[in-house]
């Protein structure tokens, strides 16, 4: 998924100057390491039962319907409430484990059929209370295509299911339920491996049709999210009729999770130590950060401010953790119009860019690793694509920038002086949020150092995407502060929408550099249907190298997400989802 509005809050104002005494790694020249976090990961085993964890955040959740929601915070919450077919253990972001499923998915050798056995003895919470069957999973996925639910990723990951292309919420013939504990997906293309991994998203969590249909079959928006039925260890507090709005889900105030009385530990690997989770929203980030660090039983639900990170690093080292694999950031160069339709000009800009400084304005090495390609740590294919060192292209070899290499590529592009001599003004559109605005300015500096005249516009993140970077006719030359985070561990979720020429659209375009390279497009088409996981990793790693070699975008940061908790909270960091506490594995000391 693209890094969206919350990114404006990400590491807001994390100025290294303010952190220098605390962050020894600040400054150039430190090693580019993925292992320099301050705590080890924890799967939560052996925790103490009982207690209420209070989570404080600034951002509200929005719609919490498992058939629709997509935000990181909502995924964190729903991972304790719903049981999709598969999920990730908190300390393993790459290997899916059966959740509602009883065993690993059976993917036919041709990749066109996926069969999943479902556990016996899993029950819906109140007010439905009956045992979950495969038909509930079938309905959950089908409702994702209902316009009243309108799941954003269903067409992408379930679109190859036979009949899904024309689905509007009714039965999809390619989803079969031969018995109450088996579900079979029949596909038009061999994309079973991706579909199996996509079932880690909440869309595959069972929904009881006899209860939910009255909320779904409406003109407008489904209200099932405010009446949803749990299968996980926790449920949203509700009244007797199952209404959660203003009971367990209170917009602008927060949510309250209580134990699901119908959950059975014998059917689940999650320990579910906590009795209750009380998540309040609308908190001032500085105050909430101090409340968490100084108080008890609390965790911060979104990114701490620079002041809080500094305070935690200086005084509360055991209470902060920098979670790797939180996404990637890059500068997209418009490959469809001059001057960046010339690959050598793009490489020159990449070589001129001081990516070290770009990281420094965010807080230095603790906040992430300097990116050398697009598949980031925690995504399959990362190692095959070159790992931390990257594929070794000279224009990305020097984190602080290399003027000599930049000059070499400008000469190759037809500018003998090593500087741009045309009269075009480069339009740069970046995110106005701090510190992204500083990163945009550094990209502008690099362009100017090559002789370009520039016009920098800093805008709200939503406006930046929807009016400029995601609209090809806006003809923006550089979008310096875009980024991407995975939907699940498969590399396709990082590279396909972002660099496949077939995804270029006149509006809502996610291929921001508008890269349309026939070789890369063909390689992606082939890789999409590779069934074996290892082969997939290699195929997509190869595509990653191809994309990086075009310099259509300049990778500059692989994020680490700072996570802050009270001293008495044992947080099992959800490495697959920005590193926040996994509510079903965390406990109070």
């Amino acid at each position: 998924m693209p890094r969206t509005a919350p990114a404006r809050a990400l590491v807001a104002g994390l100025l290294c100057l303010a952190l220098v005494p605390a962050l020894a790694a600040c400054g150039s020249g430190e090693k580019n390491s993925a292992t320099s976090t301050t705590a080890t990961t924890d799967n939560g085993s052996g925790g103490r039962r009982g207690g209420t964890l209070k989570v404080l955040s600034e951002e509200d959740f929005g719609n919490l319907d498992p058939g629709n929601t997509y935000s990181s915070a909502a995924l964190e919450l729903l991972s304790a409430v719903d049981r999709p077919l598969y999920s990730y253990a908190p300390n393993n972001p790459t290997d899916i484990v059966p959740d509602l499923a009883a065993a690993a998915p059976k993917i036919a050798p041709d990749g066109k059929t996926v069969t999943v056995r479902i556990r016996s003895g899993v029950h819906f919470g109140p007010p439905v209370n009956r045992e979950v069957t495969s038909r509930d999973v079938k309905y959950a996925i089908e409702r994702g295509f209902n316009p009243s639910v309108a799941n954003g990723y269903a067409p992408t990951y379930y679109g190859d299911v036979i009949g899904a292309a024309r689905a509007t919420g009714g039965p999809i013939i390619g989803i079969e339920t031969p018995d109450p504990h088996t579900i079979v997906f029949r596909l038009t293309r061999p994309t079973g491996t991706v579909l199996a991994q996509a079932t880690t998203l909440p869309l595959s969590a069972p929904v009881p049709q006899e209860y939910a249909a009255r909320f779904d079959d409406v003109r407008g928006t489904s209200e099932y999210g405010n009446h949803q039925v749990a299968t996980g260890p926790y449920m949203f507090a509700a009244d007797r009729d199952g209404n959660e709005l203003n009971v367990g889900i209170t917009p602008n105030r927060g949510v309250r999770l209580v134990r699901n009385p119908n959950w059975s530990a014998s059917t689940d690997d999650r320990p579910a130590y906590l009795d209750e989770i009380d998540w309040s929203v609308g908190n001032d980030p500085n105050i909430a950060g101090r409340q968490v660090l100084d108080g008890n039983d609390m965790s911060l639900g979104d990114t701490p401010t620079a002041a809080i990170v500094k305070r935690a690093v200086e005084n509360n080292q055991g209470q902060i953790y920098f979670s790797p694999g939180a996404g990637s950031r890059y500068a997209a160069l418009n490959t469809q119009i001059p001057p960046f339709d010339n690959a050598d000009v793009r490489k020159a800009l990449a070589a001129a860019l001081d990516r070290d400084q770009m990281r420094l304005v965010r807080g230095g090495a603790m906040i992430g690793d300097i990116a050398t390609h697009f598949l980031y740590p925690g995504v399959a294919g990362f190692d095959e694509a070159g790992g931390m060192r990257g594929p070794g292209y000279d224009f990305l070899a020097s984190p602080a920038g290399d003027p000599a290499v930049a000059r070499k590529y400008m000469v190759a592009a037809g500018y003998p002086s090593g500087r741009y001599t045309g009269d075009q003004t480069i339009d740069i559109v970046g995110d106005s949020g701090d510190p992204s605005n500083k990163d945009a300015e550094l990209v502008e500096d690099a362009a100017r150092s090559l002789g370009f005249k520039t016009k920098l516009r800093l805008l709200d993140s939503n406006v930046m995407y929807e009016q400029y970077c995601a609209v090809p006719r806006a003809r923006v030359e550089i979008c310096p502060t875009v980024g991407w985070s995975r939907d699940f561990a498969d590399p396709q979720t990082v590279l396909d929408a972002a660099f496949n020429g077939a995804t270029i659209a006149p509006k809502y375009n996610s291929n921001w550099p508008q890269l349309d390279d026939p070789r890369i497009n063909a390689a992606m088409k082939q890789a999409e249907v590779v069934v074996d996981q290892q082969e997939r990793a290699r195929a997509w790693a190869n595509i990653d190298r191809m994309v990086t070699s075009t310099a259509a975008a300049i990778p500059w940061l692989w994020d680490r997400q700072p996570v802050v908790s009270s001293a008495d909270v044992r947080c099992a960091y959800q490495l697959w989802n920005q590193g926040h506490c996994d509510l079903a594995y965390s406990s109070l000391k």
Binding site: M1, P2, T4, A5, L56, D60, G62, N63, L64, D65, N68, Y70, P147, S148, A150, N151, G152, Y153, A154, P155, T156, R219, G220, T221, E223, G225, N226, L245, N246, T250, P251, N252, R253, S280, G282, N283, D284, N286, I287, A288, R290, Q291, D294, G295, L459, D460, N462, V463, Y465, E466, Q467, A470, A497, A505, P506, K507, Y508, S510
Partner: protein, 330 residues
């Protein structure tokens, strides 16, 4: 008086219509996030986004959307459905209003109670050290940004992060109906912070107004009649001097009922102001419309109340029942 009130109510309704139309147009004219994209996520296909736009009615023409919206309000008092929170706007407003009312009315009482004696003392002791100290103090509290004062108050006095942990801090708001004691405790700091800056303004305004009033002929007449100075000041002077203060009070209370954004944000009070800010961040037009309409309604209603109160405060003010050209005569 009745005809006057009826006319004011009618004008108020027209104003609300205008405000609503303006908000609607501004939302579409100015760059903002697309609610359909925010709902679907940015890697959703254009077809999915188009489907959501259709479901939400965003693909209809602007006049049709506005007409549907107005029809909903007039016929069913339906303020629409929040794209982001997935809840009826009417429910959201009803849920947030008690916190805003609690904050505003409590703070208003406090700032009037603080400002009135300060204003009177300063006016009656003009150019003395007491006047200078009080007015300088008023200037200081007016100049301090509410957000900053709120943060300082929390860092000093909040029971969780404060140096002197005396009062409940941010996020401690409890509805009055749930626990009156906790409700009171949770609002003391927000009341003091919000009332502080307003008290400064009101004290200065009352001082100026009272100085002016005390030099009027009717005050001299009252004194000539042998009425005690205390009675002259309180019954004749202050009562008339309060007229501009009440005007301002009406506007301020109306505006704050529409959302005391900064105070609500720093103390995490679930009020109308915070709801509005979140709605703007998420391009949630129905909620933006709802909060703007609520704010406009409160401003109009508060001004109407002020006009009525004038008649009781100042004997010179009488509303004409026959005048067609003016709403009041003095």
């Amino acid at each position: 008086m009745t005809r006057y009130l009826a006319r004011r109510v009618l004008v108020g309704v027209v104003l609300l219509l205008c405000v609503s139309a303006l908000t609607f147009v501004l939302f579409y004219v100015l760059p903002a996030g697309d609610p359909a994209v925010l709902r679907a996520g940015r890697n959703a296909s254009p077809a999915t986004i188009a489907q959501i736009r259709h479901t939400l009615g965003l693909d209809r023409s602007l006049p049709v959307q506005f007409w549907t919206y107005l029809k909903g309000i007039v016929l069913h008092f339906d303020l629409g459905y929040s794209y982001y929170n997935n809840a009826p706007v009417r429910t959201l407003l009803a849920r947030q209003l008690p916190a805003t009312i609690s904050l505003t009315l409590g703070a208003a009482v406090l700032w009037v109670l603080i400002a009135t004696p300060i204003g009177i003392v300063s006016a009656l002791r003009r150019r003395t050290w007491a006047d200078r100290v009080l007015m300088s103090g008023a200037l200081v509290v007016i100049s301090a940004p509410v957000y900053w004062v709120g943060l300082v108050a929390l860092y000093l006095f909040a029971d969780d992060i404060g140096i002197f942990p005396l009062l409940p801090g941010a996020g401690s708001y409890t509805p009055l109906t749930q626990d009156p004691g906790k409700w009171l405790g949770s609002l003391i700091l927000p009341w003091l912070v919000l009332a502080g800056s307003f008290a400064g303004i009101y004290a200065r305004l009352l001082r100026t107004s009272l100085i002016d009033t005390m030099s009027q002929d009717f005050i001299r007449t009252a004194r000539a009649k042998g009425i005690s100075e205390r009675r002259v000041v309180l019954r004749h002077g202050v009562r008339v001097a309060l007229t501009p203060v009440v005007t301002l009070l009406g506007v301020d209370v109306g505006v704050l009922l529409g959302g005391a954004i900064l105070t609500e944000s720093v103390f995490n009070l679930p009020g109308i102001g915070r709801l509005g800010v979140d709605a703007i961040n998420h391009a949630d037009l129905p909620v933006i419309q709802g909060t703007v309409l609520a704010a406009a309604f409160f401003v109009i209603a508060a001004n109407l109340v002020v006009d009525v109160v004038y008649a009781f405060l100042d004997p010179r003010v009488r509303y004409s029942s026959s005048s067609s050209s003016s709403s009041s005569s003095t």
